[in-house]
């Protein structure tokens, strides 16, 4: 199994930054695109994406595949995703290990899965059908969660590892989500990181979170926290080099601040690489 070549250090493509990107062609290696935002008939978002795609690799990252839902797979949605992928030729197509609704309703949230054998079989079967339909291996992301279920029969990382292995899909490791869920559910984030197969991880997410005291929320409205940077260094040590990107979805800073955060990610990755070379010498 040959992992795709790393794309480098990317950012989430958000409308507030269209001008900065189109006018300045900033030193960002690639952009991650929220797939659903471009499943529209026409207009500026699609023409902006055409322009940006001419200069940068992109990844399509969805929020509504609802891979763990017990509702039937939505083939209208998957058809639109396939057409989008054919048009923009992304390096990867990814979505979340979650469900977003049942009975025809979409709650527009990344809802938690009980870590049961039944859920595992269900998710594996559905990823297989999605990959067959799209004609490509997809990447599945671990989500932040705020509850655990009495029904669960295994740890989250065991579930994630099994999903990837049995469905033969890639993993998008969200380092911030590991940290947030670790705090909320009292597990050691490093245990999660160390349990996942190196060969499956093709991408990292980094993001900020909000601290509510009793729990943390994956809010994407703050810079990456020092604890998440430390966990990123550990993840890079195990999985690197892989494609990395920073998500920002609220309280948008000036674009140069995101570039500075991306530089921080590059610096950590370089330091870990130097450390590995030093250890090998």
């Amino acid at each position: 199994m040959q992992k795709p070549a790393p794309l480098g250090f990317g950012l989430g493509l958000r409308p507030v930054y269209y001008g900065d990107i189109l006018d300045n062609k900033p030193p960002v290696d690639w952009f991650e695109v929220i797939s659903e935002n471009f499943m529209i008939p026409g207009g500026r978002p699609l023409s902006v994406l055409e322009c940006i795609r001419a200069d940068y690799p992109i990844v399509l990252h969805g929020v509504s595949m609802s891979i763990a839902s017990t509702a039937p797979l939505d083939f209208d949605y998957l058809g639109a995703l396939k057409r989008l992928a054919e048009r923009f030729q992304p390096a990867f197509v990814s979505d979340h290990l979650c469900w977003t609704g049942v009975h025809g309703v979409n709650l527009h949230d990344l809802l938690p899965v009980p870590y049961t054998k039944e859920a595992l079989d269900h998710v594996v079967e559905r990823i297989g059908r999605v990959q067959d339909f799209l004609g490509r291996r997809i990447a599945i992301e671990n989500v932040s969660s705020y509850v655990t279920f009495a029904e669960s029969e295994m740890d989250e990382w065991t579930f994630v590892k099994e999903v990837a292995e049995r469905a033969d899909c890639w993993l998008l490791l969200d380092v911030n989500n590991v940290f947030v869920s670790g705090f909320n559910h009292d597990f050691a984030p490093t245990e999660f990181i160390q349990s996942i197969d190196v060969d499956r991880v093709v991408q990292f997410h980094l993001a900020g979170h909000s601290d509510q005291g009793t729990h943390k929320i994956d809010s994407h409205d703050e810079p990456v926290s020092p604890e998440v940077w430390a966990l990123f260094a550990e993840a890079w040590r195990r999985f690197g080099p892989v494609s990395v990107m920073i998500e920002r979805d609220d309280k948008f800073p000036p674009f140069p601040e995101l570039l500075a955060e991306l530089e921080q990610a590059r610096g950590i990755a370089a330091a870990v690489a130097a450390e590995k070379i030093g250890a090998a010498a």
């Binding site: 659903e36 935002n37 499943m39 529209i40 008939p41 026409g42 207009g43 500026r44 978002p45 699609l46 023409s47 509504s64 839902s69 017990t70 939505d74 949605y77 469900w99 977003t100 609704g101 049942v102 009975h103 025809g104 309703v105 979409n106 709650l107 527009h108 949230d109 809802l111 009980p114 049961t116 039944e118 859920a119 269900h122 705020y146 509850v147 655990t148 279920f149 009495a150 029904e151 909320n184 559910h185 009292d186 005291g213 009793t214 729990h215 929320i217």
Partner: protein, 262 residues
């Protein structure tokens, strides 16, 4: 519990008051079951309220936080999203305004809601290259009456309470709403060549002419309609000037001949 039952109970609890799911939720060291689950149910309401606030910013300004908040709460309680893209969640808000008390008696708010929805729809409507007015060059005067026009998918013609455009412009600068007059006004909404959504209020002859032209009537038929209405000798020149403006605004994507007249 089977996965399907767990998801159904979870969803019921996020949307409504049923808390049967709490039997399946583990408490944490710091939070009890209900407080943990509330992260999801609170987020549901906040997220859907933010979709509506993003889609209807001028309506929000015009109504004020209290009234808009009550409308949003009522809409969320009554309306589920059935689309993978949250962009479509708020599209039934204008109809909801007309049938829900106390908002049904406020035609000025309905006008604003319809205008904002049309602007959102125009923004990402289907693409088609606008037709250049040069396409008419070289046509003989005999050919003009049989010409028909195809229009962009982004166009809406709204019939709303008089004063809606003025109310929208006042809301944009957070000024007090102007006094609304009785009667109706027609607003054209479209996506321009700059890829932005635009609007303008139409005088009655242009509203009639554009309605006829979009229905496939020929240039000659539109001139006859205007002449009948206004008893005006210069009707062909006035119709040509409307047509020039439509080309200039990028409303027209194609020209064809009405085979019945050619």
């Amino acid at each position: 519990m089977k996965l399907a039952d767990l998801q159904a109970k979870f969803q019921d609890a996020v949307i409504g008051e049923d808390r049967a799911i709490l039997d399946s939720v583990n408490p944490s060291r710091r939070l009890d079951r209900a407080a943990r689950f509330a992260v999801y149910s609170d987020a549901y309401r906040l997220r859907h309220a933010s979709f509506l606030a993003e889609d209807y910013p001028m309506l929000r300004n015009a109504m004020g936080e209290e009234d808009f908040g009550a409308l949003v709460e009522a809409y969320i309680a009554a309306t589920r999203s059935h689309h993978p893209n949250a962009r479509w969640y708020g599209r039934h808000l204008p109809e909801f305004l007309t049938r829900a008390e106390p908002w049904g008696t406020k035609p000025d708010w309905l006008g604003l809601a319809l205008l904002e929805r049309a602007l959102a729809d125009a923004f990402d409507a289907d693409d088609a290259e606008p037709c250049d007015v040069g396409g008419l060059a070289g046509l003989s005067s005999e050919a003009w009456p049989a010409l028909c026009f195809d229009f962009q998918a982004s166009i809406s013609l709204l019939s709303v309470v008089s004063g809606t455009c003025a109310a929208y412009e006042a809301a944009a600068i957070e000024a007090p709403p102007p006094q609304t007059a009785s009667g109706a006004e027609t607003i054209l909404v479209w996506r321009g060549k700059d890829q932005q959504a635009h609007y303008r209020k139409l005088e009655t002859p242009e509203a009639l002419a554009l309605t006829e032209a979009r229905a496939g009537r020929s240039f000659g038929a539109i001139c006859s309609m205007l002449a009948f209405r206004d008893k005006d000798d210069a009707v062909a020149e006035r119709a040509a000037s409307l047509l020039a403006r439509w080309f200039g605004d990028g409303l027209i994507r194609g020209i064809r001949r009405d085979i019945l007249q050619s």
